[in-house]
Amino acid sequence: MRAGTARSGESMLAQLVLSGISQGCLYALVALAMTVVYRATTVVNFGHGDLLMAGAFAVYVLVIFAKVPFIPAALLAIGLLFATGVGIQHWLIRPILRGPHLSLAMMAIAVGYFLRGVARVFWGREVLPFPKIYPDKSFFLGSVVLNSSDLVITGSAIALFFLLWLLFAVTPVGKTAQAVFQSQRGAALVGINVGAFHGAMWGLGAAMAAVGGILIAPVTLLYPDMSASTLIRGFAAMTLGGFGSFPGAVIGGLLLGVMEMLVGGYVGSRFIDITAYLVIILVLLVRPVGLFGRQVVVRV
């Protein structure tokens, strides 16, 4: 009897951790995309959740109305969101770049709400099933269950993390980002086109939002407000991992996903929703730079 209970306890723990990792991958994706924009421009893109929604809707429109097959539609949507990100930076962020940070954050929020408003005009009352290209199957690892969505989300997220690591650690993009983050004027003096770089990073962040949207929409289904709760969790993951840290965003997202599950499973399901907020409060109080963030030293 005791052995049975212990086994059931272990199985519950394993299930919670694995499901937490799958959920955490989504948070990590959001945190990572926000980090890309933050690293390049020092702007926290609070409109990121709505870019995620826009990416998912772009795929939906292309597949359902334009009858484009799913994979080309997903690639087109990612490209479209990249262009949108570049456009946002060029026409909306660049003109106010020298203004206070609050204005930049407000602009990001305003863009997000605008996108959500547009989606509401067309699909305000709809909750749409997202086109799926994989069957809904369950897989058993002992008594632990994983389904195809968990595997697709986790696999895609890991592939994307690896690609981003390559981009920022192996190519010169990482050093350029570091230079621009440290001093935009300094970066410009050594020949970096800061404006174009900012545009590219906004584009990359928006393209990653599209990837996030494509992964999350089969789980949440498609509606204009689909990303509201994911955004705050992405922000919490970013805070936990450390602002501006790529590994931090990934680890923060995964930790938050697992924490939510464990809190729900062992403390009380009513605390799941406040876990992200508690993480933000605790991290800001105890270690404001997060797990992997570094204190910025300004030489005078």
């Binding site: 299930q15 789980v219 499973g265 009513r270």
Partner: protein, 394 residues
């Protein structure tokens, strides 16, 4: 001096009398040719699928307009979008009352929002026939101008508990719920009823609004091995919970509240697989596409806005509009808010031909509807209406 006092007294009497007369005949929202009706409900946001109920109510008024209206007046319907949000709901109530100057309000979807709107509507004295929001505290204790023309969460909570224990051998009942007033409206009467039968819930688990994963909740429920689960969740979270319950093979029969539409939930889940073993409160006499409901099915379908899909939710409120029209007809041309309220209080055993049971109000009871059924798949995979576990209502 005495004459002057007498004159003053007469003037005061005349003025008070006039005011009293004016007060006794509040005809705001009534013209020679129209009756203004306000319908608040969520037309946008994550709970916008409940907006189908708003269009259902609107359809009834459009139908009667095409029949020539009521006693020479046609209905002018104004929809207010509450987005299932308390602050927006209050703003909508104020707009309908002060700006649109409606004669009455026939709507109210999302109980939390309706409860937030209640003080505004009550203070204005505008008659409110609640069409959809199920919390009994909207109309109980009695507010003279507020009538509940739909089964309440109290009735539904009791009915859920009754349905669960009508299954033989059911002793261990668990609950999954939101932590909000709406959820409490179902949970409290259900738990009270179970206590009366000597049963205590073996677990109470929460799934908050906006959550997209219910793994922890499902595993916790699985751990306590319940015989039956009462599911008090709105539609988006209900779909998440049923999806994960199916994924983790929870395998426990469940009965859900009125916070969702059966068909729409199934659509969200992409098919009936995860709906098996799940039953949901059902307000109507029969399935909406059954011969018994054909008349109103065809009417609501005809008058829905173009592109709007017909679901069970399209009828969630239509019965209340039929009752409003009937009461207005009974008033003749002399329509005022006071006369409307008086006539509503006299409505007795009124068959809407849609709602299960009949509507009855009195000055001391504004909870007009009580009878409820349950809907779910039978063993052969046919959608059926039940009056108790294994007992079909049709």
């Amino acid at each position: 001096m005495t004459n002057s006092i007498r004159r003053s007294a007469l003037v005061i009497l005349a003025v008070t009398g006039l005011a009293a007369t004016a007060q006794a005949a509040d005809t705001t929202g009534i013209t020679d040719t129209t009756i203004e009706i306000g319908i608040p409900g969520p037309m946008t946001g994550p709970n916008s699928s409940f907006g189908a109920a708003v269009y259902g109510v609107q359809s009834i008024y459009r139908y009667f307009n095409d029949q020539g209206g009521v006693n020479g007046r046609k209905f002018d319907v104004i929809i207010g979008d509450t987005a299932c949000n308390e602050a927006k709901g209050v703003a909508v109530a104020k707009k309908l009352i002060s700006q649109d100057k409606v004669f009455l309000i026939n709507g109210g979807v999302c109980s939390g929002v309706a409860l937030a709107m209640k003080p505004v509507i009550e203070e204005a004295g505008v008659p409110w026939v609640v069409s959809t929001a199920a919390n009994q505290h909207i109309s109980s204790p009695v507010v003279p101008t507020i009538f509940h023309a739909i089964q309440t969460s109290f009735d539904m909570g009791v009915s859920m508990a009754k349905f669960a224990i009508s299954k033989p051998e059911v002793k261990r009942i668990a609950i999954i719920e939101h932590t909000n007033e709406w959820s409490k409206g179902y949970r409290d009467p259900a738990v009270e009823y179970l206590k009366g039968k000597g049963l205590e819930p073996v677990a109470e688990v929460t799934l908050e609004r906006g959550q997209t994963d219910a793994t922890a909740q499902v595993l916790k429920l699985k751990d306590v091995k319940p015989d039956f689960i009462l599911v008090i969740l709105y539609e988006p979270e209900l779909a998440v919970f049923l999806r994960d319950a199916h994924k983790y093979a929870l395998g426990v029969p469940m009965v859900g509240s009125l916070g969702a539409d059966f068909q729409s939930t199934q659509n969200r889940l992409g098919g009936p697989d995860a709906m098996k073993g799940f039953y949901m409160g059902f307000l109507y006499k029969a399935l909406i596409d059954s011969p018994r409901m054909k008349k109103w099915h065809d009417i609501v379908a005809k008058y829905l806005p173009q592109g709007e899909k017909l679901t069970d939710y399209s009828f969630y409120g239509a019965g209340s509009a039929i009752a409003v029209v009937d009461v207005l007809k009974s008033l003749g041309r002399d329509v005022s808010r006071e006369r409307f309220v008086e006539a509503m209080n006299k409505l007795h055993d009124f068959d809407t031909e849609i709602l299960a049971g009949t509507l009855s109000f009195s000055p001391t009871n504004h909870l007009g509807a009580q009878d409820l059924y349950t809907i779910g798949y039978d063993d052969a995979g046919k959608l059926s209406v039940y009056s108790a576990w294994g007992k079909k209502a049709e």
